[in-house]
């Protein structure tokens, strides 16, 4: 083992209660009484563990798992337990900042800041047209924020140039799910259904580290784990398939081939509930397991064993994660796994199914309500005239006033400050200078902008590059809704008022919109009012929230979309729609009710190893950190657990390179290089290194990653780059 930093000698090593505390005396909020626990949800991942927050008279907030919330069943990971520390992080942004003539970010009043930003936006728009201003949103924003951000972009800015960081997260699974099922909901069944399974195949997912409480539902089933690394999840697997990075698509095709060759297909299901099998098989028929073995390194026998396990089980699930999706072949890879699930008759059956493990806290809702380049609220397509008509009516504008589809996140970032590209960028809830691929190029692009505005609650690496920084609220200071990985709409609740000087994102959008000449009433600042408008805008869409209300959620109802307001058979007096915990049991969301096989064949990753860059680098997450680390790197207990970037490398490979455990190394790709400490891991493939992507500066894993995009989802190829590794002298 490496000499990892010793455990922190923090207060919890003593007799401190397990409930985590944070707070500063004197910060007594007005309006929210102390000692009234608020049931809300963890600020981090898509599992959205139920947390009960309490605030003592001195303002300190403590967290406990919400009793009875079925998703986390009383569990929390270290990130959840320590989340209150984020509320009082010492460098919390508490005042707007404007870059002064000397180039320094200096405090400014809100009116000054908003006036300045709106003025610059008006100038740029007048000079270069509305698409000169772009918006980048995030999958951590509440539904209300995501919705209002999309509306703000389309109406107040009049720009088509809006996308969000979910493009780097969920987009491949979303595209494949929509194509196959006619609807994209990460898990089309409640998380708790997983516990009843006999077998669960996890393709490119490592929940034991990325969403630990999920493992409580995976204790019973036998696991098949597909991951190039022997992750903590893989260690729990009955069968671990360890493909060469970048060959996930070939492996998925091989599994389908094995299912066909071993005659394990569910012919009745294929006949009655699907279309397109023959075309799909024509593409997969050349992917026999021995050929796939040569490409992936996964033994043909293990491919067959995996398929046999799935086929023999009565109740079984196939779940994909970022490991399958973050590729230039991401959509085809997920489609190939869905093909396998369909061939075995899994989706849309009680106790079985396909799902995708959404990453970000509101990765699901964030992709449904209009911050995506090609979408309008309710998961409507912006190119669909009927969708445009509906949303325009709700917004009180003419359909032709709505811009068309814009660029995807990477293409948007890459077009910044180019001729014809945006000159200004507004960033809400994301940190692309750490989290986007080819991060050095992104930083150069951002630096070349005429105006970069960042709304955040900490001075993230991107905020530090901005011309204007707007301090906004965080999770325990705001109300709203989040939609978790299972499609359940959850209430986020404020437990204390924000620090002085901090405003909500809805306030910020309102303030800017009004200054840009928009009617004030068009941008409500109350989350409830925004949600009620979102309900109307989503009505009739794929993700129909119209039957969901704060009242119903606050009364404890578990509501999964679609949940239309339209009265049921009993007319207007009928009981409200109960929501849809399980999709597809009666049919899929295509007009004919059938799921679609996708005809996908083998494609290689965009980049291959070669003499100059002989190793595969793959990137991912650590348990102690979340996304770009802007939040978790500010929590002492988490930085103690994972203080700095470490690159995992096989001992043999390290020995050949003259690198010892704990030694500093430079990892380089065709894009650039990053510096990290070597951590020798004997279970790794000798041809692969792994880097976590949570760290800033010279330790950014995304200095290495490339910009090859999936042709459909526009997902960058985060999961495989060709690199070389060399010892790095001490600084």
């Amino acid at each position: 083992m490496s000499d990892r930093a010793p455990a922190p000698a923090g207060p919890r090593a003593g007799a401190a209660p397990a409930a985590a505390r944070a707070g500063t005396p004197g910060d007594i909020p007005a309006g929210i009484p102390a000692d009234t626990p608020a049931d809300t949800h963890c600020p981090y991942c898509a599992l959205q563990c139920g947390t009960r927050l309490s605030r003592a008279a001195d303002g300190a907030v403590t967290v406990r798992p919400t009793p009875g919330f079925p998703v986390n069943q009383g569990g929390l990971c270290q990130k959840g337990w320590t989340a209150p520390a984020l509320l009082d992080t010492p460098d919390r942004l508490r005042t707007p900042l404007l870059r002064d003539a000397g180039g320094t970010l200096a405090p400014a009043g809100w009116d000054t800041a908003l006036d300045t930003i709106a003025g610059r936006l008006r100038e740029l728009r007048a000079r270069y047209g509305p698409d000169a201003v772009a918006v980048l949103g995030g999958g951590g924003l509440t539904n209300e924020k995501a919705y209002l951000l999309g509306k703000f972009a389309r109406l107040a800015l009049g720009t088509s140039q809006i996308d969000y960081n979910g493009r780097f997260c969920m987009s491949s699974a979303a595209a494949a799910g929509n194509a196959a099922f006619g609807i994209d909901r990460g898990l089309p069944f409640p998380v708790t259904d997983l516990a009843g399974a006999e077998v669960v195949l996890l393709a490119g997912a490592n929940p034991a580290e990325t969403m630990p409480p999920l493992m409580r539902h995976l204790d019973g089933p036998e696991l098949i784990v597909i991951d190039p690394r022997r992750t903590p999840t893989a260690e729990r697997a009955a069968l671990h398939l360890q493909p060469r990075p970048g060959t996930d698509l070939a492996l998925a095709l091989g599994l389908l081939h094995a299912a066909v060759a071993e005659e394990l297909l569910d012919h009745d299901y294929i006949e009655t509930r699907t279309t397109g099998f023959d075309a799909c098989w024509r593409q997969a028929r050349e992917a026999w397991p021995e050929r796939v073995e040569a490409i992936t390194g996964v033994p043909a026998a293990d491919q067959r064993a995996a398929v046999r396990m799935l086929a023999a089980a009565g109740r079984r699930y196939l779940l994909t994660g970022r490991g399958s999706e973050q590729h230039s072949t991401g959509v085809d890879t997920v489609a190939a796994y869905i093909n396998l699930a369909l061939a075995l008759g899994m989706p849309g059956r009680p106790g079985s199914g396909y799902g995708c493990l959404t990453g970000q806290g509101n990765g699901q809702g964030g992709r449904e309500h209009g911050q995506k380049a090609d979408q309008l609220p309710g998961y409507r397509m912006i190119t669909d005239p009927a969708a445009r008509g509906h949303v325009a009516r709700v917004w009180g504008v003419a359909p032709e006033d709505l811009p068309g589809a814009g660029r995807s996140a990477w293409e948007l970032l890459d077009s910044l400050a180019t001729p014809g590209g945006p000159r200004a960028l507004l960033v809400f809830g994301t940190n692309p200078v750490v989290s986007a691929p080819h991060a050095a190029r992104v930083a150069r692009k951002l630096a070349a902008l005429d105006l970069l505005v960042v709304a955040d609650f900490v001075p993230s690496e991107t905020a530090r590059l901005a011309h204007a920084v707007l301090p906004v609220t965080q999770w325990a200071e705001e109300d709203g809704t989040m939609t978790s990985l299972e499609g359940r709409v959850l209430r986020r609740r404020a437990v204390r008022t924000p620090p002085p000087g901090v405003r909500g994102d809805l306030d910020v959008l309102h303030g800017l919109a009004v200054r840009l000449g928009e009617p004030a009433a068009r941008y409500p600042t109350s989350p409830r009012a925004v949600f009620d408008e979102l309900r109307r805008a989503s009505a009739g869409g794929r993700a129909d929230y119209s039957g969901i209300s704060y009242e119903r959620l606050d009364s404890g109802e578990a509501l999964y979309w679609p949940c239309p307001a339209a009265p049921g058979p009993g007319g207007a007096r009928a009981a409200p729609h109960p929501g849809t915990p399980r999709l597809f049991l009666d049919g899929f969301a295509h007009p004919d009710g059938r799921a679609r096989f996708a005809p996908v064949g083998h494609r290689e990753a965009a980049e291959r190893t070669g003499p100059g860059f002989p190793l595969h680098a793959t990137t991912g997450r650590l348990l102690a950190h979340y996304q770009s680390g802007a939040q978790t790197r500010r929590i002492a207990e988490l930085t103690a657990a994972a203080p700095e970037p470490e690159v995992e490398i096989h001992p043999d490979t390290a020995a050949r390179l003259g690198v010892g455990d704990g030694q500093r190394v430079r990892v380089s790709s065709a894009r650039g290089s990053t510096v990290a400490r070597a951590r020798l891991v004997a279970t790794l493939r000798t041809d692969t290194v792994f880097l976590p992507f949570h760290f800033p500066g010279a330790g950014r894993a995304n200095l290495l990653t490339g910009t090859a995009l999936d042709p459909v989802s526009r997902m960058p190829e985060f999961k495989v780059s060709a690199v070389c590794v060399e010892p790095e002298p001490a600084p």
Binding site: M1, R4, A7, R12, A13, A15, A18, P65, G74, G75, L76, C77, Q78, W81, E209, P212, P213, L214, M215, R216, D219, R230, P232, R236, V260, A261, E262, E263, A279, R282, R285, E286, W288, P289, E290, R291, E293, A294, G297, P299, A300, A301, D302, P599, V600, G601, E604, R608, G610, L623, A641, H650, P651, D652, A655, R656, A682, T683, T686, D687
Partner: protein
């Protein structure tokens, strides 16, 4: 997108028809993934002059190798035109002027010429195989690639015993597939054991044994002397019942055009690892090509890797094709062969694992830590791992026995040190748990309250319980958490 038509090698001998008969597929339709529109060069180039850029690719042949190359070029976004000419209409390659002549008098200039001419089955000179008119007699079949399900059943539908002539990789695989489909199968092979050109004697005998175990009769060291309907006579006088005679006696690469153009030809058209012939403007791939870098002979079709590599090179990357690996497709045999017999014998470092009782054998011939040649039988994980090392010329790991046995490397044993992390989800160490216990947290719930251990995924609950019982038990000294064994579950039960 143009309509994809499935045609055979029939062509019309006009240059325009020949050049537009591009989208020939072989069963596997190109469908949505092959938008051939971009690749349909306009016909009517006959007779035109002027040098073509290297990106102007003309493919000779329209079999699987040609189709794969076309698809790969399309997928990689090859910018130039890609044209395909079926081999029979071509009369000559004019290397000096870089053009191909067709029977109709047409001339087709090229920047790069890719020979994907394929091969035909070799029909041995055994009396009785052919009718007087020359075609194969009823009951005589040639080996077919074993794609898809129920391959053995489809290989021949004639009932009755099958004799497979030739036990190279194809013949052996065919015999196994037929046997899996329940057929009575006999193999006739001139060598001392099946796959005698590939396998050393030890592996060959194990393979023969494995075939026998499956009920396949093997006549090694035997040749056929005559076929009459239903019967095959061997040189030792034996007569085998053969309702079907399946010929797996190798292939004859289509090399005529290359040879007439003066390109070096061995068994196939000779190419280096980048698939280049002696002419820098001409490459060859698939079953018409023979790699000079290995002594393997023509690549076993279908040559996807070569199509990918050549397409990548023609679109600007510097790529070599990975060396071919012989891998039988029987789901229970797990046989992989790399490199030549000669390399297997001559490489300086040899590692051998031989477990005849369980039919397991691995022989790795290494040169400078790289696999020069290998035979792996009965070891499914080793077959996969060694194949990857060989194809990518990567060094063999230090843990060589683990490589061959397919055992996962051991995690370094976590010492019973205070720094050992027990609860990963909350990063709680053994030391912290002991401290909490010493301060009075005497069960799992109390330890969870004090340290948050067990509150994440919950998988360390047993281990925390063991720590409690070890500390409670009189013998449980400090550090007993991991050695306490099975007391934990009892402790929980109480």
């Amino acid at each position: 997108m143009t309509t994809t038509t499935t045609t055979t090698t029939t062509t019309t001998a006009t240059s325009s028809a020949a050049t537009t008969a591009l989208n020939t597929t072989t069963g596997a339709t190109t469908g949505a993934t092959t938008g051939n529109a971009a690749h349909n060069a306009t016909a009517g180039t006959a007779g035109t002059t002027g040098a073509r850029g290297a990106g102007d690719v003309l493919i000779l042949g329209n079999g699987p190798d040609a189709v794969r190359l076309t698809r790969a070029l399309h997928r990689l976004g090859h910018p130039g035109p890609v044209r395909m000419l079926p081999e029979p209409v071509v009369t000559a390659i004019d290397r000096r002027r870089r053009r191909v002549r067709t029977a109709d008098g047409g001339e087709h200039p090229y920047g790069t010429l890719a020979l994907a001419l394929g091969a035909r089955p070799h029909i041995p000179d055994v009396p009785g195989l052919r009718c007087p008119e020359g075609q194969l007699r009823g009951g005589v079949r040639v080996g077919t690639p074993l794609a898809g399900p129920a391959a053995g059943r489809r290989a021949t539908t004639t009932p009755g015993p099958v004799v497979v002539l030739g036990a190279g990789p194809d013949g052996t695989d065919a015999a196994l597939a037929l046997r899996r489909a329940g057929r009575q199968v006999t193999v006739v092979h001139p060598g001392a054991h099946p796959m005698s050109r590939r396998l050393d004697r030890t592996a060959g005998e194990l393979l023969a044994g494995a075939l026998a175990e499956r009920g396949i009769r093997v006549h090694a060291g035997a040749t056929a002397v005559e076929f009459t309907p239903g019967k095959l006579t061997l040189d030792d006088g034996r007569i085998l019942e053969a309702a079907t005679l399946l010929l797996c006696t190798g292939t004859v690469p289509h090399t005529r055009l290359a040879a007439e153009a003066g390109l070096p030809v061995g068994h196939g058209v000779l190419v280096d690892s980048r698939l280049r012939t002696a002419d820098p403007h001409i490459s060859a791939l698939g079953s018409c090509a023979e790699l000079t870098t290995t002594a393997d002979g023509p690549a076993a079709p279908p040559a996807w890797d070569q199509a990918e590599a050549l397409a990548a090179r023609l679109t600007g990357a510097d790529r070599t094709a990975p060396p071919p690996v012989v891998r039988l497709r029987d789901p229970a045999l797990h046989l992989a062969v790399m490199g030549s017999r000669q390399a297997l014998e001559e490489a300086p470092d040899q590692i051998t694992l031989h477990d005849p009782a369980r039919g397991r054998y691995a022989r790795l011939a290494l040169r400078r830590d790289r696999v020069a040649a290998a035979v792996v039988l009965g070891l499914p994980r080793a077959a996969a791992a060694v194949t990857q090392l060989y194809r990518e010329a990567r060094p063999v790991p230090a843990a060589r026995l683990a490589l061959l046995l397919g055992t996962p490397p051991l995690r370094p044993g976590a010492p019973d040190s205070p720094a050992t992390v027990v609860c990963r989800c909350n990063h709680v160490t053994l030391g912290e748990l002991r401290e909490a216990w010493d301060r009075g947290a005497r069960d799992v719930a109390a330890l969870a309250e004090a340290t948050r251990a067990t509150t994440g995924c919950g998988s360390c609950t047993d281990e925390v319980a063991r720590l409690c019982s070890a500390r409670t038990a009189p013998s449980g000294g400090p550090g007993g958490a991991r050695s306490a064994g099975r007391g934990a579950r009892e402790g929980r039960a109480r």
